[in-house]
């Protein structure tokens, strides 16, 4: 499908009609000082053969390292069917379709996606996706300000066990709208949110508490106690969860002991069939309870019937959105990540509940094997006690940057160096293993670690 259907004759005829000599002339009112004078940084066009060769060379330069880094993006096996179906021309758009009469297939797929996400998170309603897990936390915070009508403070508690990048994106997105994102320290023994640290907020007006499960360190938070605490103090619970883990862990809709559960659930959808791909594009998901649906940002697809009573799908609840409500819309992000959602929906369909559960269980088993193998090495130990999902923090007895660099030169990405993000932890590395790692991969890591340590010592 050609997205610009005008021929040059069409263009000339239109320009002649309005009495303008060139397209460029349409932009005359933009002052010269604001114009981009040239696109010097853009290289000349390449043909298909040249671009194919260039990209192959770039990919080769990356090598095929064994990756033990997680920290928000996770390498999982993606069945071949997922992208074979996703890349069909009929699905090839990043956008949500407005035209129900021309888009039933895509609309139904998004509807199925919403149903799956609502079921996975234990919530009643899902939107059609957001940009990524980080912006989803920002959007959830803005939504909490609208939905938690008892709170006027715009204060959002973001414990330090939440992905630090998510906090930065939330501040950048919503900080100028008056929201304040406040730290909560973690318990140094367990690497989880400290309930004692939360106590100092009792009696204050707090809008929402963000709980990441599993948390940034891979540790499992006591989500029931945290949810009960928040609700007892009129605070909304924003759950930020890994979708794979939900096949094993309690869904946020069931958090707490009162039956109320989390109020808003968000997360990074990448583990559901989206390749690591240098950090994106990924997609964010968001689910909530029906009572808050009109405060939820983004597109929502609904199921309805046409005049003849036949089932059909269409965008719904659009009065919340910017093309109708302008500045008062629930969000000024009014699109979704259609193509990534397509992949995720097909991934979930192919895996099924059992497949997803086996993926989660295998990832957990591999991560345990990895942590056992690493901590058997002299000078390496776990940072925190307590259960973890598929990643964990290990401590070294010396600076980790040179060791990780040496490992990388041996084709192993050994984990994320936490010394800048969490200097108080010391020589800490966040390591991850999913079902894609074998026992022999883990042995390769341990062997390479011995060599790397020796090389660093000798240097």
């Amino acid at each position: 499908m050609a997205f610009i259907p005008h021929t040059s004759a069409d263009v000339e005829s239109m320009l002649a009609t309005i009495g303008v000599s060139s397209i460029e002339q349409l932009f005359d009112e933009i002052p010269a000082s604001l114009r981009v004078k040239s696109l010097d940084g853009v290289p000349v066009a390449l043909n298909e053969m040249q671009i194919g060769r260039l990209m192959s060379e770039r990919a080769r330069a990356d090598g095929h390292p064994l990756c033990f880094i997680g920290a928000g993006a996770y390498e999982h096996h993606i069945p071949a069917a997922v992208w074979a179906v996703t890349t069909r021309g009929e699905f090839y758009s990043a956008y949500t379709p407005y035209q129900a009469e021309a888009s039933q297939g895509t609309l139904q797929l998004i509807y199925e996606y919403q149903t799956m996400m609502a079921s996975l998170t234990g919530m009643e309603v899902s939107n059609a996706s957001l940009y990524d897990g980080a912006s989803a936390v920002a959007e959830a915070s803005l939504m909490a300000v609208r939905a938690n009508r008892k709170s006027k403070s715009l204060r959002i508690l973001v414990p330090r066990t939440v992905n630090p990048q998510y906090r930065r994106v939330a501040v950048a997105t919503a900080g100028n709208q008056g929201l304040r994102f406040e730290d909560v320290p973690f318990a140094t023994d367990g690497g989880v949110i400290s309930l004692d640290a939360l106590k100092k907020f009792e009696g204050e007006d707090i809008t929402a508490l963000v709980i990441q499960q599993p948390n940034f360190f891979g540790q499992l938070e006591d989500v029931d106690a945290l949810t009960d605490w928040a609700h007892a103090h009129g605070i909304f619970v924003i759950a930020s969860v890994n979708p794979t883990s939900l096949a094993l862990l309690k869904p946020p809709g069931e958090w707490g002991t009162t039956g109320k559960g989390a109020d808003i659930v968000v997360g990074e959808g990448q583990p559901l069939g989206v390749p690591l791909s240098s950090g994106g594009p990924y997609f964010g998901f968001m689910t909530t309870r029906m009572e808050y649906v009109r405060q939820m940002p983004g597109r929502i697809v609904g199921r309805t019937v046409d005049l003849s009573g036949r089932e059909g799908f269409t965008l719904t609840l659009q009065a919340r959105e910017q093309h109708i409500r302008r500045a008062k819309a629930t969000s000024n992000i009014c699109t979704n990540q259609g193509l990534l959602v397509t992949a995720a929906t097909i991934y979930m369909s192919v895996m099924g509940p059992v497949g997803l559960e086996r993926t989660a269980a295998a990832s957990h088993a591999r991560a345990q094997e990895l942590v056992s193998a690493l901590t058997a090495v002299k000078g390496v130990r776990r940072a925190f006690a307590g259960p973890f999902f598929h990643e964990a923090v290990v401590l070294f007895d010396r600076p980790v940057a040179p060791i990780l660099a040496s490992l990388a030169s041996r084709g192993i990405l050994g984990g994320l160096d936490l010394s800048e993000l969490y200097p108080e932890l010391g020589y800490a590395v966040l390591v991850c293993a999913t079902e894609t790692k074998t026992t022999s991969d883990i042995q390769s890591y341990v062997t390479a670690l011995g060599e790397a340590s020796a090389a660093v010592r000798a240097a």
Binding site: K150, A319, I324, R325
Partner: protein
């Protein structure tokens, strides 16, 4: 022709105001407004106890066509939001001056109120707007 009861007062933004015997004022949207909005599907009313300023958006009425704010014609404290509208938003279409009331406010003593029109003046406004 819109229904404009003679015993109420009106704002330029198509709210109506009724002073009740206990001194509170009841507020809603006019027949003209509900007609212009079309079938209402959702109404958000303020919580009791909320303080609202004159002209502050304090309720949202959402129809199949649009969502619009309702502005408070007086400053005061919300005595009640109409609880029935959550389940029955169509009351605003069917009975805008009765069951479709949005909220009751206890006006702040001595506070300014918006310039309220008589029914006759509101009729004239509708005529000039071409309604």
């Amino acid at each position: 022709m819109s229904n404009v009861p003679p015993d109420l007062r009106y704002t330029k933004t198509h709210e109506w105001v009724r002073t009740l015997q206990d001194g509170t004022v009841e507020i809603g949207i006019t027949d003209h407004a509900q007609h212009a909005l079309g079938d209402l599907v959702f109404v958000e009313v303020p919580e009791s106890g909320r303080t609202v300023a004159l002209g502050e958006p304090c309720a949202v009425v959402e129809s199949v066509k649009a969502a619009s704010d309702v502005y408070s014609p007086v400053a005061g404290v919300v005595a009640a939001g109409n609880p029935a509208l959550a389940a029955e938003p169509e009351a605003l279409n069917n009975d805008p001056y009765g069951k479709g009331w949005l909220m009751r406010l206890q006006p702040t003593k001595g506070a300014a109120t918006a310039e309220l029109m008589s029914a006759a003046d509101y009729q004239k406004l509708l005529q000039t707007e071409g309604a």
